[in-house]
């Protein structure tokens, strides 16, 4: 009885939201400014010829900076929640020769694709986030294949990991502070340097975002259902 009531309520709520959104789509006001034309006009003076990259890293670079900060905060919370894991063999790795063989083919390709996406970002679809996603996927595959990333193990490795995680936002803020010191607004690049500065920021961001996504995957507490299963069975029987 209670279940039916819940489904009814949920259906009503989602229908109401659908109706409200549909009304908003139907009754949407005409756009007062022609944003595509404004962007196309300003892109001529921006550091990146591709309009979306220009919006992301030039006109609205503040958004992008804060977005990277959000990603960093997520990693920091995950780091705080992680458990002390024994330094034994990696429990996540699948001992699968096929996966390892495929990885040795895929890994160079993935790194190449990531580099291409990063470079292509200034003139066509692509950019730091896409490149970082591909790099992070390569890292996740490596971990599934049981390959340990030795550079990030131990005390010094952890410090190195944190330094690389902060690198992207740090470069971003440094560029912003530099433009502010040079007498311009925060993150308002000088026209001659804009292209190089955006590329430098994107390079640092790619590394940091890829590592952040990979660490979020790595920091998930390990599975240990085995010990808890009898306990859970007892509880469901009661």
């Amino acid at each position: 009885m209670k279940r039916y009531l819940l489904i009814l309520l949920a259906a009503l709520a989602s229908l109401a939201v659908c109706a409200a959104l549909a009304l908003a789509v139907i009754e949407r006001p005409e756009a007062r400014t022609d944003l595509p034309r404004v962007v196309a006009h300003s892109t001529e003076h921006a550091g990146a010829p591709h309009p979306i990259t220009a919006v992301l890293l030039d006109f609205r670079s503040y958004d992008t900076l804060l977005e990277v900060a959000v990603l960093l905060v997520a990693v920091v919370v995950a780091l705080a929640l992680r458990e002390a894991q024994p330094d034994g063999p990696d429990r996540m790795g699948l001992d699968n020769p096929l996966l390892r063989a495929v990885m040795s083919w895929l890994l160079p390709l993935m790194v190449l694709v990531a580099a291409y996406l990063l470079w292509a970002g200034s003139t066509r679809p692509g950019g730091a986030f896409q490149a970082a996603a591909v790099l992070a996927a390569a890292g996740v595959l490596l971990r599934l294949a049981g390959v340990r990333l030795g550079g990030f193990a131990g005390e010094r490795g952890a410090r190195r990991l944190r330094a690389l995680l902060v690198l992207g936002p740090a470069v971003f803020v440094a560029v912003g502070a530099g433009t502010a010191l040079g007498g311009r607004a925060f993150l308002d690049y000088p026209a001659d340097w804009a292209g190089g500065l955006i590329l430098a920021i994107e390079l640092a961001l790619t590394l940091s975002i890829a590592l952040a996504l990979l660490s979020l995957f790595r920091l998930a507490p390990p599975q240990s259902d085995v010990e808890r299963l009898p306990e859970r069975r007892r509880r469901t029987r009661e």
């Binding site: 949920a10 959104l21 595509p36 990603l71 929640l81 995957f217």
Partner: protein, 103 residues
């Protein structure tokens, strides 16, 4: 008016409206935390589609909503991953996959 509303221009926006409703429905009726997270992500995808779809009014590609959605996708990925870390931690601590105060 109705001709422009139902044109294929706004197709993405309509799919977004649908996904928002579906996501909310799933979010309310499911108790399992993973299902809730999935439903929440469906809702998020709906709002992204809505944002991109609303900008398609025949004046060419509008890069501003696309950049906003790109930002939103990264934040959604970060929050989903964080939620998964917290869920697994909760599962380790309590052995439960739902929250106790849920009806």
């Amino acid at each position: 008016m109705s001709a422009t509303v139902l044109a294929t221009d706004a197709l993405y926006a309509w799919v977004g409206v649908l996904l928002c409703g579906l996501g909310l429905f799933g979010f309310i009726i499911h108790r399992h935390l993973l299902r809730r997270l999935l439903a929440f992500n469906v809702m998020g995808s709906g709002s992204f589609l809505l944002l991109v779809g609303l900008a398609q009014d025949g004046r060419g590609i509008d890069p501003v909503p696309q950049a906003l959605v790109l930002t939103g996708i990264v934040v959604a990925v970060a929050s989903t991953a964080l939620a998964l870390v917290i869920f697994r931690r909760w599962h380790r601590v309590s052995g439960e996959s739902t929250l106790p105060e849920d009806v």
